[in-house]
Each structure stands twice: as C-alpha cells, then as structure tokens.
C-alpha cells in the first residue's frame, strides 16, 4: 500500500487513518484493545520495539497495556467497571490486593468494611429485585414485543404499587381508627352536632320494605343504598377522636392530612421516577428523543428474542428512519412556502381548530346534560319503580357519555390532523395533546356540573352553604360518581378485550374474506392505552378524598387489567408499525400522569378550601370548610410551634420566599447560559486542535517520505538499531526528530501492514 499524499484528505471525505504515527498517539486509547486482540496471531507483524518489550512466552500476552492500565487505575474504582477481559480483570484485582497488603491495618479494615458493605448492598438489591411484581411476565413481553410495549406494562406495575401504598396509608390512618371505635377496642368520641337542625338531617339510605333483587345490584354498582353509609364513603367517618393512653388521635385532622399526604406522595414518586435513569440536559436545546444518534446507536432492543418480533423491529426501524428523513425534507419544503400558501394553510388550520372546538363543546355539553338528567332521575323517581336496565343506564349515564366521547374524539382528531399539514412528528404529538385534553377535561366538566348542582339552591344563597335538600351529604354523592366512573372504566376495558379483540382475532385468523384482510389484526396502540389508565388513575386520585377505599379498588382493578392486557396482547395483537420509542414513552407517560395529578388536585383543593363541608355527615361537621381543622389544631400546639406556623403562613414570609426562589432561578438560568457558551467554545477549540494535529502529522509524514527517498538514493549505513527504534517509541513522552542519516528499515515494513 503506497502511503501517498492522499493519506490526509482534508475535506475530501473521510481520511484514511492508516498512518502508524496516528496509532501511537496517546489519545488513541481505543486502540489499546485492538493491539491486545491482534497480538496473539499477528505478533510476527508487530514492530520491533514491541518485540523487544520482552513479552511473556505464554499464550496470553501480558503486554505493556495491562501495566499501563495498572498505573492509571485508581484503587477505589471497582474492578468490574473496567472494560477488559476476565483474565485481565483478575490480574488487576490481584495487583490491588497486593497493594492493600502494604497499607496500614486500619486502612485494610476500612477497605474490608467497604467491600462487605458493597456485597451486602448487592445481595439486598438481588433480594428486592426477586420480589418485584411480574418480573417474569414483563421479561417475556419484552422479548416478544420490545421495550416500547414493555414500558407500558412497567408503568402499569408502577400504578399498582402506588395505589397499594396509598390504600395502606388511608387504611391505617383513616379507616382503622374508625374500625377500632366501631368495635370498641379503644375509647373514642363521636362528633357532637352543633350546626342548625335543618342542615343535619341525613335520612338513612338503606332500602326499606320489599326490595327487589335487582335493586341490590344497582346499589352495589353505584354505591347507593346499603353501600352509602359504610366505610366506603366520606359520610361514615363521623368520629372525633380516639383516646389512647398517651395521645389523642384526632380524626378530622388525620383525614385531611392523610389525603393531602397521598397526593404529595404520588407527586414525589412520579417526579422521582421520571428523572431516574434519564439525565435531563437543559444546556443543549436539541430534541433529545428524535435525534438520529439516539435512533441509530440505541435503536436495537437487545432484549428481543422472538424471530417475528425481530423482523417487525427491523421494519419499524426502517419506517422510522424513512419518516425522519422525509420529515427533514418536509421541513425544507415548509421553509420555502410562498405567502399565498402560508395564508391558505393558516386559514385552513383556523377552520379546523374551530371545528375541533365545536366538537369538544358538543361533548362537554352532552356530559353536562347527562349528569343533570342522571341526578334528577335518581332523586325524583320513586325508588322501587325503577326498571333494572333503565335504572342502571341512567345511573351510569355520565360515565357512558364520557367513555363515548373518549372513544369518538380521537378518531375525529386523526382525520382532522391530516388536513392541517404539520410535520409527522408534530402530528403525532398534537393529536396526543388533544386526546389528553379531552380525557381530563371531561372529568372536569362532570365535577363542575356536580358542583353547580350542589351549590344551587333555587336562585337564592344556600342556607347551609350547599343544597341540603337534594344533597344532605354531598361529598358522598361526589364519591359515588367517582366510584361509578372507576367501575365503568374497568368494565369497559374488560368488555372491549372480550367482545372486540378476541372476536376480531378469531375472524382474522379463520376467515379469509377480503374484509378480514382489510381490517387486519388489532394493533396495540401504546398512547391510547396509556391515556386510558391515566384517566383511571386521575379518577382514583380525585376519589381518594371522598371515598378512602377507592385506592384499594383501583389496586385490584389495575391488577386484573394487567392480566387482561397481557393475554389480549399475546393472543390478539401485533405491535404497531408506527413505533413509540421507549424513552419518549416514559417521559410521555409520566408527563401525562403529572397533568392528571394536577387536574386531580384542583377539585380536591376547591373542596377543602372553598366549599362548605356537609353538616350532616363526615368528619368536618362542626367546621365551616374542611381546612378550618388545621388552624384549630395549630391553636392547640405549644407556643413555640404555634408561632412557627403563624410565621410560615404570614404574607411577609411568603413574599420573601417567593423573591428568594426567583433569585435562585435567575442564577441557574444565567449559569446554564454561561455553560452553553463554554461548551460551544470548547467544541470549536477541539475541532481546531484536531486540524492542527492532522496538519502537523501531514507535514511530518512528508518530511519522512522525503528522507526515505533520499535514503534510497544512498547506500545504507550500519547504524545502531537501538537508536533507530527508540525514535518512535510509544512510551516516550517526547518525540525525537529523525536524525540525518539513519532510518529504521523495519519502520518501512510496518508501513505495509
């Protein structure tokens, strides 16, 4: 191979890095492994300098690389983190152990402690990971469908655990004391009624007289009748306090604080999960998820074990790359749009957005009317005369309308977005945003309708603060609505799986008519499934204040939903051809979950802080609003703590705190901007250094070539070969320029490899 002048083609395509000088640069660390790998078979090709190193005559090559490694590795770094083979790692480990023997006994003891602590940590991790729920199932799903769908099931598992923890908290702090007082295990006092008599009338809701069987079913499914005044709902918790020997356990305060603590716990856990294993780099403003490097270098799921899944993954990667490359071209096209086209597009978009808003308005109005009708029907109709099916449908009317809206609107959005001419990635995102909005806003509309009903007293201001004729215990009523929504959601998931997906699979596999072929097998659409369970979780969060047992119901519900979805996936579905990347999936799931949590905090916050609590039921009978419990509890604290709470809640403190937080924020923004600038400067510097290095090597190479040519024209002198070899020794820190009349012949052989 003629090492010609085209070795360093700068700017004419990738340079040929065949120059041995480049190999010997200390910065080419990655070549260390290459030298070791090729040492065994190509030792005869190695340069003279290396042979003179005195490598061992055994099969394994204990060359200078391991020694260099030993020098550079700090003893604190665990051996397992070194990217070398097992035998080399063992050698380094032995070396470290020898070094440790030279240390003082105290130091040795400390290192021994560290090692056993590390071992203990590893063992406990192993034990905990064995206890993780559904590990085997999710591993199987991962193997067959890849990490996109696996992330959905991990998310579902997270929600099951979250709901379980919430349920345990509510049970221990809220339900258990009431159970204790019911069975008279400890001394407890019930609340004394202090409000005016009208507000405290709460007729018993247990059905009297001859009750038809189907009434019990309706009651069980809607939380009315015999279920209304049980542990399930807010109204039953009328206890004031439990007297233990040392402390007095105040029930109203516990109820309020536990509900708030559940929401805060969910917030912290969700945020922690969203930053786990994912470094938010706010310095660079490129789009991390859609970057090409992410798609190529992290594109293949190494956990796929199924042949069919691998083929699908290939085709989905192919599709994804093609789409992204198309998108770049489309972006170019968009940048070159004419004025007329831009006006046309914006006008079209305005029209279509107004259409979408109209559709949404229609849905929300339908929900409003359905809720009002359902409430009126169940109050005006005599209880016994209800027909079973009609009664059930009317009870569930809001849920039915909400579910229908959630089903129809995504289809409309998908059609509409095609005419709005956005880039493909933005299309997907915008459709998702719209679907999220519909899901969460429909719950909001339902609650708003209920609120308007509860605080409407026929045109005048309400005497008790709420409409006590229709709603003697309005929190229970809200809890019942949430209960119905949760149950109906679960029934729909089950019904869709059984009545839609399984028959579709049977039709597609056994019937070979063209309709079946066009229909195709069910695709597992990750975003829609995620929206479904986030919707259910939002209902659980809202309902947890009005019905302390709803988190328990949600736990069981999601537990069963996991198995329904898994079976449906394995039997019926194929992975979507439009892939959903795992990382953006996790970010998307947790972002939507956080939005759901924020939406859930609003009604709970309004209930606690604004609407008068029921005077006929619940723990807050003697307070105007639920929040009044806290100031009255703070009053009973000792002086120092009381002063502390007063200071924290005063305006002076709030303003100061706000100003300090703003200052800290501005500081970090300025820091980030400065870092960004430094990063850019360092990149430019690196680029320039690279060019300098290449330029210098090029010059050197030319000089050497000139020497070689001169050398060939003259007879070779007998020089000391030792001097010649030392010239380009890799371990030398400096580089000696070639002397005038000697040039290693072996070096020329080296060029030819």
């Amino acid at each position: 191979m003629e090492p010609g002048s085209d070795v360093f083609q700068w700017g004419h395509g990738p340079p040929l890095l065949s120059n041995p000088l480049l190999d010997q640069l200390p910065s080419y660390q990655s070549l260390r492994y290459r030298r070791r790998l090729s040492s065994g078979s190509s030792r005869r090709k190695r340069s003279v300098s290396r042979q003179r190193m005195g490598s061992s005559s055994s099969g394994r090559w204990a060359g200078p690389d391991t020694d260099d490694l030993l020098k550079t590795i700090s003893p604190q770094r665990p051996v397992k983190e070194l990217p070398i083979s097992m035998s080399d790692k063992r050698r380094v480990w032995e070396h470290h152990k020898e070094q440790h023997r030279d240390l003082s006994s105290l130091h040795q003891w400390w290192l021994g402690r560290q090692r056993s602590f590390r071992r203990f940590k590893d063992d406990s991790h192993e034990l905990l990971s064995a206890l993780v729920l559904w590990r085997k199932d999710i591993h199987v799903i991962e193997g067959k469908f890849g990490t996109g769908i696996q992330s959905y099931f991990s998310f579902l598992r997270f929600l099951v655990v979250l709901n379980l923890v919430m349920f345990l908290m509510l049970f221990c702090f809220v339900t258990l004391p009431v159970i204790i007082s019911d069975y008279e295990v400890a001394n407890s006092t019930m609340l004394n009624v202090t409000a005016s008599f009208n507000c405290t009338i709460y007729p018993s809701t247990v059905r009297q007289g001859l009750v038809l069987f189907h009434q019990y079913i309706i009651d069980a499914l809607s939380g009315t009748g015999f279920l209304e005044q049980t542990y399930l709902f807010y109204g039953y918790y009328r206890m004031d306090s439990v007297h233990f020997p040392t402390i007095q356990y105040r029930m109203p305060l516990a109820y309020l604080l536990t509900s708030i603590a559940c929401l805060l716990l969910s917030l912290f856990w969700t945020v922690k999960r969203s930053v786990h294993g994912f470094k938010l780099n706010l310095i660079q403003d490129e789009d991390r998820f859609q970057s090409f490097c992410n798609k190529i270098f992290a594109g293949w799921d190494f956990c796929i074990t199924d042949e069919r899944a691998a083929r699908l993954k290939h085709s989905s990667l192919h599709y994804e790359l093609k789409t992204d490359l198309d998108e770049e071209r489309i972006k170019q096209k968009i940048a070159h749009r004419t004025r007329k086209e831009i006006c046309h597009i914006y006008f079209l978009r305005l029209l279509l957005n107004m259409f979408v808003i109209g559709v949404l308005g229609g849905c929300f109005y339908a929900i409003y009317r359905a809720t009002i009708y359902s409430q009126e029907y169940s109050q005006t109709q005599p209880q016994q005369a209800q027909n079973f099916i009609v009664g059930l449908i009317v009870e569930y009317l809001p849920s039915i309308v909400i579910t229908a809206a959630n089903f129809i609107t995504p289809l409309i959005f998908e059609v509409v977005i095609r005419y709005e001419d956005y880039s493909p990635a933005f299309e997907i995102r915008f459709t998702l945003i719209r679907c999220v909005f519909v899901r969460l806003a429909s719950i909001g509309v339902l609650l708003f309708t209920l609120w308007s009903q509860i605080t409407f007293c026929g045109g005048e201001s309400c005497f008790c603060g709420y409409n006590n004729n229709l709603y003697p215990c309005w929190e229970t009523r809200v809890g019942q609505e949430m209960y119905k929504l949760a149950i109906f959601d679960f029934l729909i998931i089950g019904a869709v799986a059984v009545l839609v997906e399984f028959p579709r699979n049977l039709i597609v596999t056994h019937c070979s008519c063209s309709l079946a072929k066009w229909f195709g097998q069910q695709e597992f659409s990750v975003p829609q499934n995620v929206l479904e369970i986030v919707y259910g979780q939002t209902i659980c969060w809202i309902g947890s204040y009005y019905s302390p047992l709803i988190p328990g119901i949600s736990t069981i519900k999601y537990f069963i939903v996991f198995y329904i979805k898994k079976v449906s996936l394995m039997q019926n579905c194929r992975p979507s051809t439009r892939p959903f990347r795992a990382s953006s999936s996790n970010f998307f799931f947790l972002a939507v979950l956080l939005i759901g949590l924020l939406v859930a905090c609003v009604p709970v916050g309004v209930t606690i802080g604004h609407i008068s609590s029921s005077k006929a039921c619940g723990p807050f009978m003697n307070y105007n609003i639920s929040w009044d419990v806290v100031p009255s509890a703070v009053e009973t604290l000792p002086g120092g703590a009381r002063k502390f709470f007063y200071v924290i809640s005063s305006e002076a403190f709030a303003v100061t705190f706000f100003v300090v937080v703003c200052l800290v924020l501005f500081y970090f923004i300025a820091l980030a901007r400065a870092h960004k600038l430094v990063v850019k400067q360092l990149k430019d510097q690196l680029h320039m250094e690279g060019r300098d290095k290449m330029f210098l090597i090029q010059q050197l190479y030319k000089a050497q070539k000139t020497f070689k040519q001169q050398q060939q024209l003259r007879p070779r002198t007998e020089g000391s070969e030792l001097e010649q070899e030392g010239m380009l020794h890799p371990d030398r820190d400096y580089y000696r320029p070639p002397s005038s009349d000697v040039f290693p012949e072996d070096y020329m052989d080296y060029n030819l490899t």
């Binding site: 395509g13 990738p14 340079p15 890095l17 080419y28 660390q29 990655s30 070549l31 492994y33 790998l37 090729s38 065994g40 078979s41 051996v79 397992k80 983190e81 990217p83 083979s85 097992m86 035998s87 790692k89 480990w93 063992d123 991790h125 192993e126 990490t147 294993g277 470094k279 660079q284 998820f289 970057s291 090409f292 490097c293 992410n294 190529i296 270098f297 992290a298 594109g299 293949w300 799921d301 190494f302 956990c303 796929i304 074990t305 042949e307 691998a310 290939h314 085709s315 990667l317 192919h318 790359l321 093609k322 490359l325 795992a582 990382s583 953006s584 970010f587 680029h687 250094e689 690279g690």
Partner: protein, 189 residues
C-alpha cells in the same frame, strides 16, 4: 483459570461476583445455560471454548443482528474465531446486565459497532450499522441518498472534532445524552 469440576466452587462464585456485575443467581443461571451448550463429552471442563455457531443458537442471540460482532468482541481466543469460554460468556452477560454502568456499556457498544476493528466508527462502519438495523434484505435497505443524508446527520450530531469519524470519547459523549441506550442495551437470561 477455570475449574476442572463441572460445578462452580464457592470461591470461584464469589470471585465472579467481585469481577462482574452479575448476581449470584445470574452467575448460576449462566453456568447452567453454558453447560447446555457444551457437547456431552466435555461436560467436565470449563476451559472448553464453545464455537460461535453453537453460541448463535441461543434464543437471546438468534435474532440479534449484532450476534457475530458480539461473539468476536467478547472472545479472547487466539484464533479470533468468535468462540467463547465460560469467562468470556460471563463478561458478555455482565456488560449486558441491568447493573452495569453506562460507561462500560457504551465502551462495548462502540467495539461492537466498530465492524472493521480500527478503533473509530468511520463511514463504512456506520453504513453497515444502519443496514444491520434495517435488515439486510435489499428491499429493507435505505436508498443511497437516504443513507448519505442519514450518515451526514449522524456525523453532524456526534463528530465533535470534525474528522469524519466517531472515536470512543465522542461516542460515549453522544450516548450519555441518549435516553434510550441503557434500557435497550440489555440482555437478561
């Protein structure tokens, strides 16, 4: 250094726990799976090197487009034939395990993607990488212009010193900002 018995001794087990990221259960499972790959006659020695064809029959590697590269990278055999001894096998599982650090994963990912073993990812390596990802049949490959556009984008994003290749530090830098990498670069038996 291998054990002459077919069972792992306790010292060897704890040594492997120290030198790899695998837990005790995972090492024992790996031992079982490796023994299945050995031919009947040599069940008693762990020095045996399983040839590459046998390794590639494992279900975890069968559908993986990088299976040959994995075998070459982790093999310490003199003959460079991709055969793995038990310790190579453990090294392989350790790098792909859950608890391996992102640095070691990115280091080995670089070596796997470096098809010509020259220490950098140049254009040919990237072309081969993309073809592995999209499948090797002619209809699944990208066209020439698309490939050029794609490689241009990759180099623009990752090549800091603009020499037309991605070296190890640039690769590790771009991987550290990639959110998908750790979750996808995982093989669990």
């Amino acid at each position: 250094m291998g054990s002459s018995a077919s069972q792992l001794t306790k010292e060897l087990l704890s040594e492997y726990q120290e030198l790899t990221f695998l837990t005790k259960q995972e090492i024992l499972l790996a031992h079982c799976r490796f023994k299945e790959l050995l031919p009947k006659e040599s069940r008693n020695t762990m020095d045996y090197r399983v040839p590459m064809e046998k390794i590639l029959t494992m279900p975890e590697l069968k559908s993986n487009p990088f299976r040959q590269r994995i075998c070459y990278v982790f093999s310490t055999s003199e003959a460079k034939d991709g055969s793995l001894s038990f310790e190579d096998f453990l090294d392989f599982l350790s790098v792909f395990s859950d608890s391996a650090t992102p640095e070691i994963k990115s280091h080995y990912a670089f070596r796997i993607f470096d098809f010509d073993d020259d220490g950098t990812l140049d254009r040919n390596d990237l072309v081969k990488l993309v073809n592995c990802l999209t499948g090797d049949a002619p209809e699944t490959r990208l066209s020439q212009e698309e490939m050029n556009q794609l490689i241009g984008n990759i180099l623009e994003e990752s090549d800091i010193d603009k020499d037309g290749t991605v070296n190890l530090s640039e690769f590790q830098h771009v991987i550290s900002r990639s959110p998908d990498f750790v979750s996808s670069f995982k093989i669990v038996l």
